[in-house]
Amino acid sequence: MQSHDLLIVGAGLAGMRAALEGVKAGIDVAIVTKIHPLRSHSCAAQGGINAAINPQDSRNSHAYDTVKGADYIGDEDAIELMCDEAPEAILEMDRMGTPFSRIEGGLIAQRAFGGASFNRTCYAADRTGQVLLHTLWEQLVKARVKVYEECSVMRLVTDAEQAIAGVVAYDIKTGAVFPLRAKAVLMATGGYGRVFLSNTNATTNTGDGMALALRAGAPLADMEFVQFHPTGLRTSGVLVTEGARGEGGFLINALGERFMSRYAPNKLELASRDVVSRAEQTEIIEGRGKDGAIFLDLRHLGADKILDRLPQIRQLSLDLEGVDAIHAPIPVRPTAHYSMGGIRTDKFGASPLHGLFAAGEAACVSVHGANRLGGNSLLDTIVFGKITGRHCAGFVKGESLRDFPASEVAAVKSNLTALKARTNQGVRPIALHHRMAEGMNLHCGVFRTPEGMRAGVESIPSLREDYQKIHLDDHSDDFNIDLLRAVELGHLIDLAECILRGALAREESRGAHSRTDFPERDDANWRQHTLSHWDAAQGIVTLSRDAVRTVGKSDYTPKVRTY
């Protein structure tokens, strides 16, 4: 049986950054990833990464903006740690070879982003995620890290003492099911955009790590906080960076009005994302949109600036909407984008489950609270990838491999065999996915009604029932994507239940969670995290609460949040 000190699931920015730290500490580290590392969705991040590297900026200011952006439910110890570590983390990436854009004088260029009181978003044109991802992959190749490529994790395995023993993996290329033992497992599997029908995410973003952790007994936190990005393309939902507004782009409605002045008189288009998305949704609901969208207008920036700073955005708009941003406004709308929630961890990435760690979007550390600031997600991956990787290396030194129950592999094999052997009972996986994801858009979107959320929660048992009826067309062993997607759909349904139950329980409006029946923030009762647990006996998600980790600074005392 293959074994490693540390097994990292996922090869995006967080996973690869953690792996490098493990190598540096001299432990045996391996990565399992269902897609080649360079296909990871970190590559789709466009606008940039925040760090107070300008002497006129400060880490305190970055931390304050983040606490406020999070609507006072972020864990302050983790936020301060992230903002403190940010400049060095960026400079490390620079030294590894990331070609950050430069300003005159040669320093790393920074642009304005939403909710920030300083232009502190470092960037490489509008493909910052791609160059960071390629840089880390280059370092991964250099460090000769073992990567189980195109292998999906099917189960997180614990021993009799509820400590991590390893994972059961599935080699997509061959169909082989095999155990991987490890002293620690780090989930860096990213988000679950596919829970929503309209989303900015890759189709591979199915929240596998969160769902596996939940089923293994680790709590997820704050799953009701789903970020709707203000500028997803109307038709496909594909992302248009906040950097487009950072470079001076306007949001206009169908009447041509720059409507943000009504909602955020000071920061306008650069208010935080929850505020901008609500403003857009209000314009659309009140009839000032067109075909369900409003518009991002870049025309006044001129062709040179668009081609220099936002070349990819222009191309994507051409390819996917048939609109040339140099000559016409781009139709956009609020689109499910990012999960503030995830596997609950402390500021070192450790979950309550012994030996399980998480970093990046899969984790809820929580630095993003109820609303993430643009430019803080790339930062989260790099900083907490590093911190958690280092912490894991320390952890495994005091651990030995746990007993790995052989029955776990057999159970996965028999599940997969049964799934493949199902006869046609009339439910196609895509139809079930569509029903679930459309329901999530409808019932748990930018504005949430009590009836909608209740309808959503009530739909879960029938989704689970029909999940038992889906059947596959592909019965082969090798490269069976049909099978993989069926497994992923199971994960999505678990996560949808966490999101819906969390949303219905949280009787207030905070950050991205906006209820029509409780429009105000309620700090007295709800300045707390929601925890989701899997109740295996009942087969449902149950909830509890967890305190926000505060550091006692008066600056961080909740106040009315305006932009």
Binding site: R39, L91, G97, G105, A124, A202, D473, S476
Partner: protein
């Protein structure tokens, strides 16, 4: 926009018991507006017609590089290709990438492609230990090639890869140029020396297929030409590749046209020329052998001026990037 009817003619590939690939073409009808992407329709076919249809995809936005496949005879990213642009009489023909082993349907084994990328040592070597302050234009050359997402389109369409599996290929060479042109790289000369070996930068036939097929406008061939220029500048002039290039350069500058009669001799030497005698006789029979007598073209003064201007103001015609790298 109204919907058109299209027929997706897809090459379905299955591994047989003996390990060989069974290949057949299957047609699927779809309806779509002309600007619907091919990936959207592949997903529709997989979801609603045949779940066993297998292909890679992920980001839907031309940045992850998963969905490169042969569409209408050329390798393209399915996620950014409009169906109408690749339909011939309503038929869209789709096959896996070429020059690489097929796993199943449209999915290829990406291993051999990445082995080539690994071979050029794809990481900054001896990079700076201190924080660097760089010219604003320091990455003008780097930026062009770092747009590469390693989707493999160029390798799939590369005519040299088709005839020689040993050729390292355009993507790997573009990646190599990414480091050779980086002001922070510490091993430029060693890289250029290795790139001068057989099957590396001098094997490219400069057919520009990679420039045509690249979905990210990386222009790998331009990078290869720049690598060659730098190699020669570093004195790496051995081998038929650089000799051929130098002979070409010499003839054009001096006479305005090639002396093809002696070009072969200057490229591969006397022994190499003797080996090619068969080809020469063949050409002679067809009347394709040029006059052995050297001749000069008219207007050589103008040519001399063009050379002069270009040498004084070197310009990267394709990328418009300035040469700023301290060599």
């Amino acid at each position: 926009m109204s919907e058109n009817h299209y027929t997706f003619r897809i090459q379905r590939n299955r591994k047989a018991a003996d390990g060989r690939i069974d290949s057949r073409w299957v047609e699927y009808p779809v309806s779509a507006t002309p600007t619907t992407t091919v990936l959207t329709l592949l997903e529709e076919i997989k979801g609603e017609q045949d779940g066993s249809l297998t292909f890679r995809q992920s980001c839907r936005s031309a940045i992850c590089g998963s969905c490169a496949m042969k569409i209408g005879g050329r390798t393209r990213l399915a996620c950014k290709t409009h169906v109408e642009s690749v339909a011939h009489n309503g038929v869209v023909e789709i096959a896996p990438q070429a020059n690489q082993p097929v796993l199943k349907d449209l999915a290829i084994d990406i291993g051999p492609f990445f082995t080539r990328i690994h071979a050029i040592r794809p990481y900054l070597e001896d990079g700076p230990d201190t924080d660097l302050v760089l010219e604003q234009s320091a990455y003008d050359q780097v930026n062009h090639v770092t747009q590469c997402i390693l989707c493999g389109s160029c390798y799939s369409d590369c005519v040299m890869a088709e005839v020689s599996q040993e050729f390292i290929g355009p993507a790997a060479l573009a990646k190599a140029f990414r480091f050779v042109s980086d002001p922070r790289e510490g091993q430029k000369e060693r890289r250029l020396e290795q790139l001068s070996h057989p099957h590396m930068m001098w094997t490219c036939a400069r057919c520009a297929m990679c420039v045509e097929s690249c979905p990210k406008d990386v222009k790998p061939m331009e990078a290869i030409v720049k690598l060659r220029t730098r190699g020669i500048a570093k004195g790496l002039k051995d081998g038929p590749g650089p000799k051929h290039a130098l002979a070409f350069h010499h003839d054009i500058q001096k006479a305005g046209s090639l002396n093809e009669f002696t070009l072969m001799m200057r490229t591969v030497g006397i022994l190499g020329t003797l080996e090619e005698l068969g080809t020469a006789f063949h050409l002679m029979k067809k009347g394709k052998v040029p006059s052995p007598l050297p001749h000069k073209s008219k207007g050589l003064e103008e040519l001399a001026k063009i050379y002069e201007i270009l040498e004084e103001h070197p310009l990267d015609v394709e990328t418009k990037a300035k040469e700023v790298v301290p060599e």
